[in-house]
């Protein structure tokens, strides 16, 4: 946080779990604690979103305050002394989780999100096995009309992250809370299924959902612990978003967000998020081909490369440097573009290399 222009940014000192901390004024308790490596549980908070302070799982005990305070939305003040895992805090968190489970399907074993579910992690952390409350559970239909995103609002804990990410990051406002109280859920207007005339299918709501309520259908069916993540750069537009390719065995199963990516901070568009099925398209050609009498025939790399090298050199030799042209590609890597220009200039001895800089 910066103060008014010219003013020194003030710092404040406080004590968290008996440890001294010095941070710039305006820092939340949550961020100050994270600086110390203290992990305060959160459900509705996300660093890329405005605070909602609605789940209250992040509460901490501040000396001299009658009530527990939400760490995600409370500024750390000079001289504050606070506890992040006191008895009162643990009791409060246990109660919150217990209440959340009271209206949550008891199907962790078969839930896609298992292992990557924040609710499950925190229940484990606080020893909440099942709800002690008896009550009705919602019986809402699962929405799975499109090939990318599935919504099972029975698993929703109403943290609102999906609504905020859609409004604040995608600035699309496709979904919102509907009704209040027990019947409350997240839906598009008039409860319609997600459709491309109002939703961009960016999938960011699915990525940020702490439970299995909104699922990315691509990675469905592969347990989180079976997925290896490989950070890479999107192959489509010039924004250069980064994401993690999720690999199970020797197969890419989908994409998850990289919140530390400099260009996109976890955001993606529909192409970056949901394109990976094209990698396994049956239309891909997997052997070199040589056309003989107008018909494609499979060839070995040796045959194909000998032919290409021979013919290009021959034509260049016979007809001069205007006789061959090379198109490089804005889809290929720097290394590939560099090597192809070197081959064109040094091997074919012409500057006739270009690429579709406009597309």
């Amino acid at each position: 946080m910066t103060g008014p222009a010219g003013a020194e940014t003030a710092t404040i000192q406080a004590t968290i779990d008996g440890r001294e901390v010095t941070v710039p004024a305006g820092t939340t308790i949550l961020d100050a604690a994270r600086d110390l490596g203290i992990d305060i549980p959160t459900l509705c908070h996300h660093e890329t979103l405005s605070p909602a302070a609605s789940c209250r799982l992040c509460v901490v005990e501040v000396e001299g305050r009658p009530n527990l305070m939400p760490a995600c939305a409370t500024e750390l003040l000079d001289g504050m002394v606070l506890q992040t895992e006191s008895q009162a805090v643990i009791e409060a968190r246990t109660l919150i989780l217990d209440l959340l489970l009271s209206d949550h399907p008891q199907g962790c074993i078969t839930c896609e999100q298992s292992g990557g579910c924040t609710l499950q992690d925190y229940c484990y952390r606080y020893g909440v096995e099942a709800s002690t409350f008896e009550g009705d559970k919602r019986q809402l239909p699962i929405e799975s009309d499109n090939p990318m995103i599935e919504r099972d609002m029975n698993k929703c804990i109403l943290c609102g992250k999906c609504v905020r990410v859609c409004a604040e990051v995608q600035v699309t406002n496709a979904i919102d809370f509907t009704e209040r109280g027990f019947e409350s859920q997240i839906a598009a207007s008039f409860d319609n299924p997600l459709a491309s005339d109002f939703c961009r299918f960016c999938g960011q709501c699915a990525d940020i959902c702490p439970t299995g309520a909104i699922a990315n259908k691509q990675i469905k069916g592969v347990r989180t612990w079976d997925r290896k993540k490989v950070r890479t750069t999107c192959p489509f537009c010039g924004v250069g978003c980064n994401f993690d390719l999720n690999v199970a065995g020797d197969k890419i199963v989908g994409v998850t967000a990289a919140y530390d990516a400099p260009a996109n901070q976890g955001s993606l568009c529909v192409k970056g998020r949901f394109h990976t099925d094209l990698i396994y398209s049956p239309d891909r050609i997997t052997t070199p081909l040589i056309k003989k009498d107008g018909v494609w025939e499979k060839a070995t790399w040796d045959e194909a490369l000998e032919l290409v090298a021979g013919r290009l050199l021959e034509i260049r030799g016979e007809h001069g440097n205007l006789s061959v042209g090379v198109l490089s590609s804005a889809r290929c890597t720097n290394e590939e573009n560099y090597l192809l220009q070197r081959l064109t200039r040094a091997g074919l001895n012409t500057n006739s290399i270009d690429h579709c800089a406009r597309t």
Binding site: A258, V270, H275, K291, W301, A309, S329, N334, R342, N349
Partner: protein, 534 residues
């Protein structure tokens, strides 16, 4: 871009001209909308009512192809009201008088007449942009894909310099590059007029450097640009082509001409992942791996060099493009021993001064923005701090020129082309997910034009230009003004580039995709015609 993507949210004014960012650069589009939520004012210049136009403080719905007249009108307004940055102009630029000599003929009234944008709106846009410190210009193909594309770009630089908006954070003149690695392909010298790192191929020192580095005397003359290659192929002078990763038969203007050129070649090699329209004309097809199957780097629109990492093995007999080129090079007498993309990158560092300080290790997971001259240089989030690369920024007057092709009685509609969210060029057509979202072209037509023609939503119509004739389905929308229609170039079933005009910008030869004159007709055989059907 002179500035960084992360900057956008902190801008107070975004002057967005000819860029449908929410479709073409979705994450940048999001940041523009986020800036608007934060209170920034958007000035959107676009004939179409794009999503950004909905968020705009000022929407300038100009006639397609008249951008330059608008910018001249703004320059005139700014200078005659004294809103220009006099000190900055004195200290950092030259040619102000030359600029004024041209611009003085474009008072807002005349600009309004040419562009169809009201005088008050032009004046308001000029004042808002000029008098806000954190004001950036953003543009894409909309601006460059005109016969006057280079002139448009130069005039936007004029606008940025005259108002002193270049060389600071949250400002600058920001071309948003289209494909993922256009920036990198240019940096690497995959261009007929420049070596890696941009020295001219005619520059004696550079010729010497690369002759020594490659052990071969470098060619002495300019190479052919894409449209020239096709032209010479039609004439039979150019006899062989090697085409890696592109599909010009679908994506280049005047596709029928391109097909004629490809057909006429003695020898065509296509290296790609599937049988593209272009590959159908090839003699040899070399199957390449996809980005997820190889290592390397891409350079994004903010000059950030980022890693591409291999996640899985290439399928079947496919190979990464670099390996194919390497094998081919060896067979063409190159004594190459690169054993990895990283080894090639190490050579790039010596060839391209902007990349000298980068290593794969330094790139890590966040990359580096060039120029990075040394290994302890942190990278460059915005360009031209304190001074321009060439010393003084050159202001040059750019008179307005009519688009090359105008409507007439036979071809009374303007067709503009561009991108949409769900597809990227052609590769995304292989994804079932993205196909589900948009399996065919849906040309945008104004309801008034549709009514005149007696066609309805989703109907198959015929669109013809002076160069070709295709069919497409339509959607009726006020996004396009009457007399204008819009199509993308992703669908081989509705190959819009059979219609577009290959007449190029005299400097870059970028074709005039943005504006071409067409005629729409009811398609009598609509029922039986399967071309654009699902």
């Amino acid at each position: 871009m002179t500035n960084s993507i992360a900057d956008i949210v902190g801008n107070d004014v975004l002057f967005i001209i000819g860029s449908n960012a929410t479709e073409a650069h979705p994450i940048i589009g999001n940041k523009m909308k986020q800036a608007h939520l934060r209170g920034a004012k958007l000035i959107v210049v676009d004939p179409r009512r794009t999503e950004l136009a909905e968020h705009a403080h000022l929407w300038l719905r100009l006639k397609p192809g008249t951008d330059n007249a608008l910018v001249n009108g703004m320059l005139h307004t700014i200078i005659s009201n004294g809103w220009h940055a006099k000190e900055y102009i004195d200290e950092r630029t030259e040619g102000f008088d030359d600029l004024w000599a041209t611009v003085k003929d474009y008072p807002a009234e005349r600009a309004a007449e040419i562009t169809g944008v009201p005088v008050e709106t032009i004046v308001a846009a000029a004042e808002l942009y000029a008098t806000t410190r954190k004001a950036g210009i953003f543009y894409t193909l909309g601006i460059t894909e005109h016969t006057v594309g280079t002139a448009n770009v130069m005039n936007l630089a004029n606008l940025g310099m005259v108002t002193g908006h270049i060389g600071f954070p949250n400002a600058g003149v920001n071309p948003m590059r289209g494909q993922n690695n256009v920036q990198g392909s240019c940096d690497m010298g995959a261009l007929p007029n420049s070596f890696p790192g941009y020295p001219s191929v005619l520059d004696f020192e550079a010729q010497k450097k690369f002759s020594e580095a490659y052990g071969v005397q470098m060619p002495q003359d300019m190479g052919l640009r894409i449209p020239e290659m096709f032209e010479l192929a039609v004439h039979g002078t150019l006899k062989a082509m090697f085409i890696m990763g592109e599909d010009p038969a679908l994506t280049d203007a005047d596709a029928n001409h391109v097909r004629k050129a490809l057909e006429n070649l003695d020898f065509l090699v296509v290296q790609n992942i599937f049988m593209t329209e272009t590959a159908k004309y090839a003699d040899v097809f070399l199957p390449a791996a996809l980005y997820a199957e190889k290592d390397g780097t891409f350079t994004n629109t903010e000059r950030r060099v980022q890693r591409v990492r291999k996640a899985v093995e290439p399928p079947g007999d496919t190979k990464p493009d670099w390996e194919i080129i390497l094998e081919l090079g060896k067979r063409m007498g190159m004594d190459w021993d690169y054993d990895s993309p990283e080894a090639i990158f190490e050579e790039i560092r010596t060839a391209v001064p902007q990349y000298a300080g980068m290593t794969y290790e330094r790139l890590g997971t966040v990359g580096l923005q060039w120029p990075v001259p040394t290994e302890d240089h942190p990278g460059t989030p915005f360009l031209h701090e304190g001074r321009f690369t060439r010393g003084k920024g050159l202001l040059q007057g750019i008179p307005f020129q009519e688009p090359a092709e105008l409507v007439d009685d036979e071809y009374p509609m303007l067709l503009t082309t561009g991108r949409m969210l769900y597809h990227y060029n052609i590769m995304t057509r292989l994804s079932q997910n993205l196909e589900w979202l948009r399996p065919y072209e849906l040309a945008e037509v104004n309801p008034a034009d549709a009514e005149r023609l007696g066609v309805v939503e989703d109907e198959l119509i015929r669109v013809s230009s002076r160069r070709g004739s295709i069919t497409t389905r339509i959607t009726l929308t006020e996004k396009v003004p009457p007399g204008t229609m819009f199509m993308t170039f992703h669908f081989k079933e509705s190959p819009v580039n059979e219609l577009t005009n290959a007449e190029g910008d005299p400097v870059t030869m970028t074709a005039e995709f943005k504006v071409c004159a067409v005629r729409m007709e009811k398609e009598p055989a609509a029922e039986s015609h399967g071309a654009a059907a699902k």
